[in-house]
């Protein structure tokens, strides 16, 4: 059953087409890889789904809700969370606070209770922090809860960003190059983590340049090049597709 349907999505910046007529669906419980050469439009597509960008045409349906009618800050409530290619953490805050910002959405007392710091508001904040701590535990990061996020090594910060995304209890998780900057061992463990998340019922869209990771964990792969979908299939069909091979090897292969 399709959780997410991208329909005929197009967006251009200053006349340059970043995506043109891209369509595909993502089923519940799938890990779908999104690959393509640099500048293919992968991150642009993720930015459209997470509503940072508004496409000029097309629709994005999540369980038949058109996401284009949802504001950016409503995306989390619709069950979408993401990580970024370049970290977008709250650097000055602690690891726990970073994650708690995300879990707090699920515990909301009203503003008046907050302004007067009533027990209901205090309970909510406590519950949100507790939930955040549980998420950190699940990823083995709880010992870092009080650390200032920007002081941590890059790979750890990437895991904190993943924890923050998960604390919102998403149905759909968008990962933008989560393995970039990780060593092979960290990258392998990340693959196991993503699979475990899928087994818990989270659907994943993964942008990744680490092909071994993509080929091992993705059930289906969508290949973009110059803003167009050039292939959609299993890891096996992607590997054999001539269009994909030429997109990756690029003009040099054709010119030579």
């Amino acid at each position: 059953m399709a959780l997410l349907a991208i329909e005929n999505l197009s967006i251009s910046f200053a006349g340059l087409k970043a995506l043109s007529g891209v369509s595909f669906t993502v089923n519940t419980g799938e890990i779908v890889g999104l690959i393509g050469p640099n500048g293919a439009g992968k991150t642009t597509l993720l930015n459209c789904i997470s509503r940072l960008y508004t496409p000029q045409s097309g629709r994005i349906l999540l369980n038949d809700v058109n996401l284009l009618d949802v504001p950016v800050h409503g995306i989390a409530a619709h069950g979408i969370a993401r990580t970024f290619q370049n970290l977008e953490l709250f650097g000055g805050a602690s690891v726990l606070e970073n994650v708690a910002v995300s879990s707090m959405r699920r515990f909301r007392s009203n503003l008046l209770a907050e302004l007067f710091w009533l027990p209901a508001a205090r309970r909510d904040v406590h519950a949100a922090r507790e939930a955040a701590l549980q998420t950190l535990k699940a990823l083995g990061l709880d010992h870092l809860a009080d650390q200032r996020t920007s002081d941590l090594p890059y790979g750890t910060q990437k895991m904190v960003e993943l924890a923050r995304a998960l604390a919102g209890q998403p149905k759909l998780l968008l990962l933008d190059e989560p393995a970039a900057g990780l060593n092979p061992d960290e990258s392998r463990r990340l693959g196991e983590t993503i699979r475990a998340l899928r087994d818990q019922g989270i659907t994943v869209i993964l942008i990744e340049h680490d092909m071994s990771l993509v080929m091992t964990i993705c059930e289906r792969i969508v290949v973009l090049d110059h803003g167009e979908k050039i292939h959609e299939g299993t890891p096996e069909t992607v590997r054999r597709d001539p269009a994909v091979i030429s997109a990756y090897l690029g003009a040099e292969a054709g010119d030579a």
Partner: protein
């Protein structure tokens, strides 16, 4: 003399700190400096004056009601004037706040005239003897009120959901939005809070310098200097920066001359911007790459 100067310096610094906090609150949330912050406080202090003299409300009640009305005035201003232009370039909003300065200033002059009024203080004026120093209860009262406001802000930002969301938005707007934080709401709440805090500043400063349509101009200048000392993006930084300005100004006035007080604040602004543009307390002046 020394203890006296320190206490009056801290009292003056507290007043600046409240307005400095209001400036930084809005700047953190929206990247906009609200040049009208002082004039809005002045306007509300006149409203408080009407409540005291014409409605004959008790002063403590006015100290509660006026800041709430100040918050409401700022909230309405944000909704009607600032929000429609919030998607445009920040410089537009900046110029609009300068326009608001003029609007509030002239409106106050038009309604209440251009003469200074004596504004009652919540605290007795006669100095009391504390361990050999003659300390003004008014100074101590100002410090206490300011500290209470700061403690309230601290609790709000550290321990409430809405406050945490506002801090998150000030650190990374894009990420905060994706966590469900509505940045338009954050801007609205920041203006509201700043309006309330600014009004408290006006109520505290009016008994010292007389209520007058231009009374906040020099206060705003000092609040700017203090906030810039603190890096303009940190609430505690603004408080410490403004306290330093208050103490420095009082000592300068006490030992040297009172003639250059405002020039002194400008000098601080220029020097800090030249040599420590991200403030005295920033961890790193240069962004790590």
């Amino acid at each position: 003399m020394l203890a006296q100067l320190i206490v009056s310096g801290l009292a003056l610094g507290s007043v600046y700190a409240l307005l400095g906090l209001a400036l930084v609150l809005i700047h953190k949330a929206t990247d906009i400096v609200n040049f009208a912050q002082g004039e809005m406080a002045m306007f509300m202090t006149f409203v408080a004056f009407v409540m005291i003299t014409q409605l004959e409300l008790p002063l403590p009640l006015v100290f509660v009601v006026a800041p709430l009305l100040g918050a409401a005035l700022a909230a309405v201003t944000e909704r009607i004037v600032m929000r429609p232009i919030s998607d445009g370039p920040p410089v537009n909003a900046l110029i609009v706040t300068i326009g608001l300065w003029i609007v509030f200033n002239h409106t106050a002059g038009w309604i209440w005239g251009y003469d200074p009024y004596r504004f009652p203080s919540l605290f007795p004026a006669d100095p009391v003897e504390i361990v050999g120093a003659r300390i003004s209860p008014n100074s101590l009262g100002i410090i206490a009120v300011a500290l209470a406001v700061m403690a309230g802000l601290y609790v709000f930002f550290e321990y409430t959901r809405e406050g945490t969301a506002m801090r998150a938005a000030s650190m990374n707007r894009r990420a905060a939005q994706l966590m469900g934080v509505n940045i338009k709401r954050v801007a609205f709440l920041s203006w509201t809070l700043a309006g309330g805090v600014g009004t408290v500043c006006g109520l505290l400063v009016a008994p010292i310098i007389f209520l007058d349509f231009e009374m906040m101009v020099s206060v705003l200048l000092k609040a700017f200097a203090g906030a810039i000392l603190g890096g303009f993006n940190s609430l505690p930084g603004a408080v410490i920066g403004c306290m330093l300005i208050g103490i420095a100004e009082t000592f300068f006035g006490g030992y040297v001359s009172t003639a250059f007080k405002d020039t002194f604040a400008f000098l601080v602004i220029v020097l800090v911007l030249m040599f420590r543009p991200s403030g005295l307390f920033s961890r790193t002046a240069v962004k790590k790459v």
